[in-house]
């Protein structure tokens, strides 16, 4: 273990020093960088999510903490069309045969044709158009549901009034017959502490997942989007992961030695725990380092001999109170302690 030693006028003093800075978590807000969770295989989800509650006690060091899980399951919502909203006599609700967003692309056209009898259907899988040619006053709702059932892409979700006749005047439909509401991803609160993101492998994109996250957060969800990822990336099966604890958004990246951990315990309050058998602390020092000058400075907090913990405070002059420093790779707290291993 490398130890930084300074020659001291008091030879039984050991000086240890180091620095720490915030990681992707900003200002103490619990966060999870998804790309750090998924390794190998997929790894196409690179969004960063954070606690919607802001800085606080929902992170790594609080039981039970805040979790995020990811599942590539079939929890999908299918696209639907209530025919009663676009026709006069057809009260059937149809849906896409497959769940997810693909169904949203389908549209239905109803076209009158002389002599069509029970009707003739055309299914264009390329352009996703389903056309039913019906005979006014002859074809009925049952005939419509028969062709829907026989199709590949559509299905009857709720049957209508089968004997009702279909007419040109009330039921010809050349536009507006679009299925909608298909969802291939969503966020679900499982138990008040765990959020699960459901997606469709090889279909849902990062952008779609982030759109769903924004909607979830707007509805008072537990987490929200902190940093957008690569939107066009398509999530794969390997992007699923078991419930992961959101990390405390405090200083976790530390340099130096002799310090067992650095924890943010409150706004502008960081606690160093030494891993030396300290008999006493002679003195300490802390200096704030900024990429861009800021109206904050480091100040020493209490030293607790029994637990070997040194508190470092960040004072915000503008606010006249303790405050967190902004995240930047060059924003760091530099510290030094002179300790005695025996008195």
């Amino acid at each position: 273990m490398l130890i930084d030693i300074e020659r001291s006028a008091m030879p039984d003093i050991l000086t240890i020093q180091g620095s720490f800075g915030a990681t992707k978590g900003i200002n103490g807000i619990p966060y999870l960088a998804i790309e750090d969770v998924v390794s190998g295989g997929g790894g196409n989800g690179d969004s960063i999510v954070e606690s919607a509650a802001g800085a606080g006690d929902l992170g790594q060091h609080v039981d039970p903490g805040l979790f995020l899980a990811s599942v590539a399951d079939a929890v999908l919502t299918t696209a639907k069309l209530d025919m009663g909203t676009v026709t006069t006599h057809i009260d059937t609700i149809i849906e896409a045969a497959a769940g997810g967003v693909a169904g949203n692309a389908w549209q239905v056209i109803l076209m009158p044709g002389a002599g069509a009898g029970a009707g003739v259907a055309y299914e264009d899988a390329v352009n996703k158009i389903f056309t039913w040619v019906f005979q006014t006053g002859v074809s009925d709702v049952d005939d419509f549901e028969t062709v829907i059932t026989a199709s590949v892409a559509l299905a009857v979700e709720t049957g209508g009034t089968g004997a009702t006749l279909v007419t040109t005047a009330g039921d010809a439909l050349y536009s507006g017959g679009d299925l909608s509401g298909g969802i291939a991803r969503e966020y679900v609160d499982d138990d008040g502490r765990t959020v699960t993101m459901h997606y469709t492998a090889a279909s849902t994109t990062v952008a779609q997942m982030e759109t769903a996250l924004t909607a979830y957060a707007a509805a008072a969800g537990l987490i929200k989007l902190q940093t957008a990822g690569t939107g066009a990336s398509v999530l794969q099966a390997a992007d699923a992961f078991a419930a992961m604890l959101l990390l405390d958004g405090y200083a976790v990246e530390q340099h130096g030695s002799g310090c067992q951990s650095v924890m943010r315990t409150a706004a502008g309050t960081y606690v160093l725990t030494l891993d030396y058998p300290v008999a006493s602390r002679v003195r300490a020092h802390a200096t704030m380092q900024f990429n861009t000058a800021a109206d904050q400075f480091a100040q020493l907090g209490p030293w607790v001999q029994a637990t070997k913990k040194q508190t470092i405070l960040i004072w915000d002059k503008s606010d006249g109170a303790l405050g967190d420093f902004a995240y930047h790779a060059s924003n760091r707290v530099n510290w030094k302690l002179a300790i005695k291993l025996k008195n």
């Binding site: 030693i5 006028a9 000086t15 020092h285 480091a298 100040q299 020493l300 002059k317 030094k336």
Partner: protein, 116 residues
């Protein structure tokens, strides 16, 4: 016997004096930690004198930190060094003046025998 440590410095002619002293609301020094120096209130608001024993001929660098239980709107400053005495000051930001604030002053003074 003083504990022996490996000497691993690129500046063998430097010596570091470091310590801390507690100050009360009136500025009085109530407790001192460290050796090779003494600390006393300079009888002026926000000023303390640290007198070194057998320093080198040159002060290389000084660092000062202020310890407060809950955080305070005060910053320490290093004052002039003369005749083995370093003055340490405490600036009250809100008051825009030197002031006595109860807490603990920490310092480190590196001296050298290398004459520049």
């Amino acid at each position: 016997m003083a504990q022996q440590f490996p000497k691993n410095t690129t500046t063998p002619r430097n010596r570091t004096f470091e310590g801390s002293f507690t100050i009360d609301a009136a500025g009085a020094v109530t407790a001192v930690k460290g050796e090779g120096f003494s600390a006393a209130y300079a009888s002026a608001a926000g000023k303390w004198n640290v007198t070194l024993v057998d320093p080198g001929s040159t002060v290389v660098s000084v660092d000062v930190s202020f310890e407060h239980a809950t955080g305070a709107d005060a910053v320490p400053q290093a004052g002039p060094y003369s005749a083995k005495v370093l003055q340490i000051r405490l600036w009250d930001i809100s008051g825009a003046a030197l002031a006595n604030v109860a807490g603990k002053m920490h310092f480190g003074i590196t001296t050298s025998n290398y004459r520049t």
